[in-house]
């Protein structure tokens, strides 16, 4: 009896290892997609499949969730099936990608610069599969051996500008803060844009605005680190926050909400990204929104048309990929007007000129 039980137990553990070792996976068709015909009528009878990998959770209330929902929205539009594998460790990037390749997925969607090496390696080994790298480098497609990689590159500087303008307008203490997840090029670009725009707005508005040094949590899941970073930065006088750290940002917002509650009024603010998260937390006064869905949709179209790969698709305010989300009532009407005016300058290319 003991031997049989031991055997069953061992089998269960081995299956757990096999099923769960690489992260937490889920798969399924996208909403009413999957079997629905493509909206653009380009169907050739084949049901295309897209898979997303992500090192944060797709329910993190930030980056992972927004990127996942972008894939779902695009898949619903084009009638694709979807799957995802989230909360995967860095060591499992490549294995997760090739697992989907082995299952004949047509498009692998990797939302983050940190997946570049794993994507390039898999793209070389699977020349017939398309790889879309969100926030990939502009030169990444050229490095792919089989021209089957496309970079989707929202302009990190403009992302930072959209948040930095609002931060510069709203700060009372003259100190703004940025929390990063990992030190990657896009995060550094967003921070640089955030700092330069906040400081510029300060000059325009007759006040001194400075950004605290960027901090990095080292991962995207540790919401407790977000809490501690936010508390430490508020102690330093920061009163407007922006971040690029997924669940860590959620932790920061919790700490900000608690500080505001203790103070009896909302005096410390947060700007969210990459979706419109106004209302998720009391402290959120606006969002920088990236239409990742449109970018993923362009990749799907290219795969269906057989024209995918070898290019970098830039996302800017000018082409509609980047925008500012709804603004909270906590932002006074005059500042909302100024915010819109500065955003118009970004649109027409005259901002900070």
């Amino acid at each position: 009896m003991k031997k049989i039980f031991a055997l069953i137990l061992t089998l269960a553990m081995v299956l757990s290892l096999a099923a769960c070792g690489g992260g937490n996976s889920g798969s399924g068709t996208s909403g009413d997609g999957g079997s629905t015909p493509p909206a653009d009528g380009s169907g050739d009878g084949k049901t295309y499949k897209v898979a997303m990998i992500c090192d944060s959770s797709v329910s993190d209330g930030g980056w992972g969730m927004a990127c996942y929902n972008a894939m779902i929205d695009a898949a619903a539009k084009y009638g694709w099936e979807t799957a995802y594998s989230d909360s995967i460790a860095q060591s499992a990037y490549y294995e997760s990608i090739v697992s989907f390749c082995d299952l004949d997925y047509d498009l692998i969607y990797a939302p983050g610069n940190q997946y570049t090496d794993a994507i390039l390696q898999a793209a070389e080994e699977y020349p017939d599969i398309a790889f879309a790298l969100l926030n990939g480098g502009a030169d990444t497609p050229a490095k792919a051996a089989n021209a089957n990689v496309t970079s989707l590159l929202p302009d990190a500087q403009q992302v930072g500008w959209i948040a930095g303008i609002l931060a510069g307008l709203m700060t009372e203490t003259g100190k703004v803060a940025f929390i990063g997840g990992m030190e990657i090029d896009t995060t550094k670009g967003k921070y640089a844009g955030f700092v330069e725009s906040a400081e510029y707005i300060g000059q325009q508005e007759g006040k001194t605005v400075e950004a605290l040094d960027v901090v990095y949590s080292g991962d995207f899941s540790a919401s407790d680190k977000g809490i501690e970073f936010a508390k430490a930065m508020m102690d330093q006088g920061a009163d407007v926050f922006f971040g690029d750290a997924s669940a860590v940002d959620s932790g920061a917002r919790q700490a900000i909400d608690e500080a505001n509650a203790a103070a009896g009024s909302v005096k410390v603010y947060d700007i969210a990204q990459p979706g419109d998260f106004l209302g998720q937390n009391e402290c959120i006064i606006g969002s920088q929104v990236t239409d990742n869905s449109g970018l993923v949709g362009l990749c799907m179209e290219a795969v269906e048309n057989g024209t995918f790969g070898g290019e970098t698709i830039f996302g800017t305010m000018q082409n509609g990929v980047l925008s500012a989300g709804a603004v909270s009532d906590l932002v006074p009407a005059d500042k909302q007007e100024k915010y819109q005016s500065y955003l118009d300058q970004v649109m027409d290319g005259t901002f900070m000129q």
Partner: protein, 310 residues
Amino acid sequence: MDSAFITNLILASVRMATPLIFLSLAELYSQRAGLVHIGLEGLAAIGSLAGFLVSLITGNPLLGVLAGAAVGILVNMIYAYATINLCAEQIVYGMAINIFAPALAAFIYRVYFGAGSELVQVGLMTTLSGLLGIASDNFLVRLLLDQTPMVYLAYSLVIFTAVYFNKTKSGLNYKAVGEYPKAAATLGISVVGVKYAASVICGALAGIGGAYLTTCYSTTYTDGNVAGRGFIALAAVIFGRWSAGGVLLACLFFGFCDALQIRLQVGSYGIPYQFFQMIPYIATVVVLTVIGMKKAGPKGVGKPYLREER
């Protein structure tokens, strides 16, 4: 470095040390009965989810903590049966728990809430100062009163554990099982019974440690939110020389290092952030190197107990 920096650093250290205390005590109770348990990370992960879900459904964080304890016990019974009855390798089953339990937690969360759903947030346990209606910026008030009941429970458990292991007959019998189970058996001590009791206590404390994260610390649940604390707890027990007081000091030290690296990052002004992130790990390596030489752990830890074996 002003006084505000130091007081806030101490407060952050206490916040960050509390879940470690629960997890380290879980490991201490397990190892004192001869069971080395490297699966705390997994037990805390499933406890964290159970605490979050029950707190969300009932609106009562205390019930969430109890649920975390119950689920921790339940999952740890797999480890207990395999290692106590089947005499399986403890490290292997601990590792299996580490892989199985977080994946199960992620699966349950996804089934319950769906992928890409709105960020779900729960209310946290009220602090003692909140219950008493005291609002003050005084450091001592914040340190001693602005804490949830779980913090007081953690420190009370440390005192209880120190007394239990050193001043009671039952505690000495318990330790005897971890030192030399065959000798303990000749004295009429139920070795298997003590090992199961240890597994129940370990599962409960690890589950509470995980539930603390989602009922007292963070309003959200995220996959991976235990963030290596299960392994740090393992180091803390060695660091603390398998004593309750030592474990408490070790947890406070680890909590302090983590809080320090966060606060130093914020005020770094040009020093690479990786330097500060290394501090807790360098401290661990240094301290374990210095004090880890002297073997002080239970002699029977990690070894299966076979009653019929000579």
